[in-house]
């Protein structure tokens, strides 16, 4: 096996939380507790767990948006914490984040063009082919109308807005995209489109994803490997089929059991009926 | 004089409505027209200014003393004898010891901040610091209970006037240290303090131990006095005009210019009293600064100033007269002259320009005028600004806060080119305290300077000494008038206005003879004490 693109070892993040009430003392709260994970090139690692389990915190540690309490992060063999100046900018170009709420993650006062070119501007890199053309190209890649590059985020629907967020991540040609609940806020049909888009982009361009979600059904559709988090720790990780098919940890089992599902026999019947209908239609044609 | 004819009757409560509180209840500390009038109600001295309704209200008459003082041959020793039956409000007798003690308080560095005349005239060692720190006053002798002898630094023919100053009053020996007399007093006059709420109320009631037989001046008709303090000027006028209830028994200071128009109504007009000015408002010109070092320029200013407009700006003809001399007409020793006349007192710009041209300043110049941040003075300054603009002189106003104004202009190093201020005599029986302090070159000091012109003319200085030495006070007054004119020829200042007063006593008030210097409150009474 080749060396992973990203390797996090023994990550710990503690927050100081202010106590409540008059006499409340400041306490330390361990949001991420000894988390280790690898993401290989071209692979999707899904991080699942319930609310508050520390998924987002892990993501922000890896994106170096916050500092670790302890533990190391290596990216392409380099210690991320040692990076400064130019190297840090390069890292920021290699790792991009797509957030949960498409509206919150896009500056409402900026046009699409300004949004998607911002990462390059912040990294003081030239915009290949000029902002206009560059934006059009990106919008086409994520399946948006290139003529809309002068619009504001509020003028797009949720799914479209999420595509803009993805386009922004693509602008700097990253190696790793951290998708923090990138599809959780979307309606099923839109969610399906975005998942398809992410998969397509991975096939075409070979990104790695760190895919964070709480919806196990979604995770199963997109992940190669899965890590399950609970209370700041990774309780189980492994290949998708292994985790879903033969969960080892009781927490994982509980999580899987709780997922609501459409009865398989109904699904089977539906597929049968569908096939039948299609044959009828074809015959009619 | 006398009010609407009816005579005052004993009894009742007299009210006084006023804006500002009295400066100090302690006469060693306070020294201004308003509080001096108040002191007269509660304190007595060896001598005093005559009653307000006397033939010469400026005259000095005996009070606690049997008669005015007798000076020794060399004029250095003055002796007074006390009347019988004098008592404080606590019943203790007033003797020469109490007088010496009370007078010596003027030397205390922290308490004796009132009139400086005692210190300026009575002999005392340089390190004498009042009775609390240095004990008995070495310059005052009390051979017996009824005799008191003062040793002077130099002959001072007007020493009777000095003892009429408010701080020359008796106090029980040992009393009045620290802030003892800040909120309470020990009275020797016809009234004593009942309550004092600083900034809002003073109540006086009769001093039972005051014996009218020992007092030739004070009538003390009302049983009590109430001073309502902290009222807005306009409010006072409104209340006096309305005269509702107890306000019929009220008096107060000058009315506001805006009120004058309303006093035309017949029922009010008949209550109105007027009083002459005792002070002169003038513009002092700093002769140490160009171009006011040239007498022609100073004379030009005197010509150019529009005193008619100044008059209107200060409240109009009822409240101000154009001033042409330093000494106001009501002060003994005034001589009527006008060295810089103009048509209707409206200024003579041509004449002024001529004078300026004679020193090459026909194109004008600019100077800075210090003024107090107070509406009337600002209006006056603006008038001067307008008038001088006609002779190309640009006036920049330097508005100084009221509280620091005198400190600033009295410090030669901080004083600008010119300043507007007023000057009043310390006693009106002669002009000796009117003109000399303003022009005596030997009195120029680093702080607290009154000679704003900073003029130091040997001729003037010599004349001052000459007139001051005269023991015939009437003859001296004639000389002061002449002196005034001599000074004005040099024009170290431009007299601007004599600000008179219009007063509106309540309907029930009798024998009210207002005075812009010090109204004699001791002769006022109510027509009908049961009213109000």
């Amino acid at each position: 096996m080749t060396a992973p693109l990203l390797r996090a070892t023994g990550l710990v993040k503690e927050f100081t939380v202010r106590g409540t009430g008059l006499l409340g003392r400041a306490a330390r709260f361990r949001a991420v507790d000894d988390v280790s994970l690898d993401v290989h090139a071209g692979e999707t690692l899904a991080l699942v767990g319930e609310s508050g389990s520390g998924k987002s915190t892990t993501a922000r540690l890896i994106a170096r948006l916050i500092d670790t309490t302890s533990g190391t992060i290596e990216f392409a063999g380099r210690d991320v914490h040692a990076l400064t100046g130019k190297d840090l900018h390069a890292y920021r170009g290699d790792v991009q984040v797509v957030f949960q709420d498409p509206y919150s993650s896009l500056n409402p006062k900026h046009t699409v063009e300004r949004i998607v070119t911002a990462p390059l501007v912040y990294q003081k890199r030239p915009i290949p082919g000029g902002a206009r053309a560059f934006t059009r190209e990106l919008m086409e890649r994520v399946g948006l109308d290139p003529d809309h590059s002068g619009r504001f985020p509020a003028q797009f629907s949720g799914g479209q807005a999420q595509r803009i967020g993805i386009a922004r991540a693509l602008a700097v040609s990253p190696k790793l995209i951290i998708a923090d609940e990138a599809v959780s806020a979307l309606d099923v049909s839109v969610q399906a489109q975005v998942i398809n888009l992410l998969r397509r982009l991975q096939d075409e361009e070979g990104f790695s994803y760190l895919f964070i979600a709480h919806d196990l059904a979604v995770v199963r559709q997109i992940a190669h490997r899965v890590a399950v988090m609970n209370a700041g720790r990774i309780v189980e990780s492994g290949d998708r089929d292994q985790v879903f098919g033969d969960p080892q940890d009781p927490y994982t089992r509980r999580l899987l059991a709780a997922v609501p599902r459409i009865r398989p026999e109904w699904d089977a019947a539906r597929r049968r009926n569908e096939r039948a209908r299609r044959t009828v239609e074809e015959a009619a044609r | 004089g006398g009010a609407a004819g009816d005579d005052p009757v004993s009894g009742g409560t007299m009210r006084m409505l006023q804006n500002a509180d009295f400066s100090y209840l302690d006469p060693a500390r306070g020294w201004d027209g308003g509080v001096n009038a108040f002191y007269r109600l509660v304190y007595r001295g060896l001598t005093m200014q005559a009653a307000g309704d006397a033939e010469d209200p400026n005259a000095i008459v005996p009070d606690l003393a049997e008669s005015l003082g007798t000076a020794s041959e060399d004029g250095l020793t003055w002796t007074y004898t006390l009347k019988d039956g004098l008592k404080f409000d606590n019943g203790d007798p007033i003797t020469s010891a109490e007088l010496e003690f009370g007078i010596s308080r003027a030397w205390d560095p922290e308490i004796g901040i009132g009139s400086p005349w005692l210190r300026n005239t009575i002999e005392a060692p340089a390190d004498y610091a009042g009775p609390y720190q240095s004990g008995d006053h070495p310059g005052i002798e009390t051979p017996d209970e009824k005799t008191i002898v003062f040793h002077l630094i130099a002959p001072f023919p007007e020493f009777d006037s000095v003892l009429a100053q408010p701080n020359a009053v008796p106090f029980p020996v040992g009393s009045g240290a620290g802030d003892e007399f800040i909120n309470d007093i020990i009275a020797s006059g016809p009234y004593t303090l009942e309550t004092y709420t600083p900034g809002s109320l003073i109540k006086l009631v009769r001093n039972e131990h005051w014996d009218p037989d020992t007092d030739d001046v004070r009538k003390a008709y009302p049983d009590a006095w109430e001073f309502e303090i902290g009222l807005d000027g306009a409010t006072i006028d409104e209340r006096l005009m309305a005269g509702q209830g107890a306000d019929a028994n009220a008096i107060s200071g000058r009315v506001q210019p805006a009120t004058l128009a309303r006093l035309q109504a017949p029922d009010l007009a008949e209550r109105v009293e007027t009083a002459d000015a005792y002070c002169t408002t003038y513009m002092g010109m700093n002769t140490t600064k160009a171009p006011f070092d040239k007498v022609e320029v100073r004379q030009a200013m005197n010509y150019a100033i529009d005193r008619a407009s100044l008059q209107t700006a200060s409240g109009g003809s009822q409240l101000a007269d154009p001033a042409t001399t330093i000494t106001p007409p009501s002060v003994n020793g005034h001589k009527d002259f006008d060295l810089y006349p103009s048509e209707g007192n409206a200024g003579d710009p041509e004449k002024a320009l001529e004078l300026l041209a004679s020193v090459g300043l026909q194109d004008g110049f600019s100077f800075t005028l210090d003024i107090r941040s107070q509406p009337t003075m600002q209006a006056q300054a603006e008038s001067i600004q307008q008038a001088l603009a006609k002779i190309n002189v640009e006036v920049e106003l330097n508005v100084i806060d009221t509280s620091t104004y005198y400190e600033t202009i009295g410090t030669p190093s901080q004083q600008s080119d010119a300043a507007i201020t007023g000057w009043c005599p310390d006693w009106a029986s002669s002009a000796s305290t009117m003109v000399p302090p303003l022009v005596d070159g030997r009195l120029i000091t680093d702080k607290g300077n009154n000679n704003l012109a900073q003029i130091d003319d040997p001729g003037i200085n010599a004349r001052i000494d000459e007139i001051k030495a005269m023991t015939d006070l009437d003859a001296a007054n004639v000389e002061w008038g002449e002196f005034d004119e001599e000074v004005m020829a040099l024009a170290p200042m431009a007299p601007l206005l004599w600000e008179k007063g219009v007063f509106l006593p309540g309907e029930n008030v009798a024998n009210y003879i207002p005075n812009t210097s010090m109204t004699d409150l001791t002769i006022i009474g109510l027509k009908d004490p049961s009213a109000g």
Binding site: R60, L65, L88, H89, R92, G93, Q96, V97, F99, Q100, P102, Y103, S104, S105, N107, P108, K109, H110, I115, A118, P119, Y122, Q123, F152, P153, A154, Q155, A161, V172, A185 | G233, A234, E238, Q256, P257, A258, T259, L260, A261, S309, Q311, T312, A313, G315, G316, S317, Q318, A346, S373, P375, Q378, A379, E382, S383, Q385, Q386, L397, N398, V399, D401
Partner: protein, 324 residues
Amino acid sequence: MTFTPTELEAEGAAGGEPTGDPASARPPRSGRRLARAFLRDRAAVACSAYILVVVLMALAAPLLVELSGHGPLEFDQAAVDSDLGGLPIGWGGGIGADHWFGVEPGNGRDIFARIVYGARVSMTIALLATALTSVLGVVFGLVAGYFGGRVDMVISRVMEFLMAFPALIFMIAVLSALPAENRQALLVVVISFFGWPYLARIVRGQTMTLKQREFVESAKASGASSAQIIFKEILPNLSSTIIVMTTLAVPGYVGTEAGLSFLGVGVVPPTPSWGQMIASSVPWYAVDPAYFLFPGAFLFLLVLSFTVLGDRIKKIAESGEARS
């Protein structure tokens, strides 16, 4: 004048969280549509018109005075009656063809000329103070809100302190003790010194919520510096708040300047200012009400216009652009 209610209240409305409701995301109103909404609002138009008149009046003061024939400092002895304490001669404080708004008692200065020149003072001081306050308030608010922690603590303490401070008393005390030169600049500085925390507090609050928004994280993840995040990402989102707050601040400052002048620590005489005119009219209002009514009405209408305008702009901004 002690009250600057608009700020208090603006916080309640403008200070709220920017509402982002994706479900009802409609295209934001374009500038032109906002303008149209504004023009349809009769009160807003009337107020703007009055403000415009005052601004023009201030700008064209020398011309207008030329027309009316009297300068603001010019005495007119003939217009007042010296025997009645300087009361203006004639009806309504001397209103007539010669003096359109009558004259000042005591010296006969033309009230029209003084109103016109007073407008200059009022507008200059209010606008400059607003500008300075806005800059201070926005910068400190942004910095405190964005950096949080110790920086926020220091700035917040200072703001708390300035807001707890009896500003009016202090302004008067300082102004009365300071030399009179450059009084207008001083007024601007003193007013702004006590004024900025009100805007800063709101900006700080909004910055703290905006900071939570993911586009800030996103910019950070792309390598934006703090300054870039503050000024390029956050600041544009505060534009409507700032516009609303500043429009609401102007009337406060017009009032403050007039109030300080009313109390005698404002502009230095003989420079006219509305507040100073009102102050000097106080003793006269019973005999010469016109002297009080003219500056009083002009001042009141100006403050009212700015208040209503601010109110309207707030409403329009809330219904349109402020969203998202």
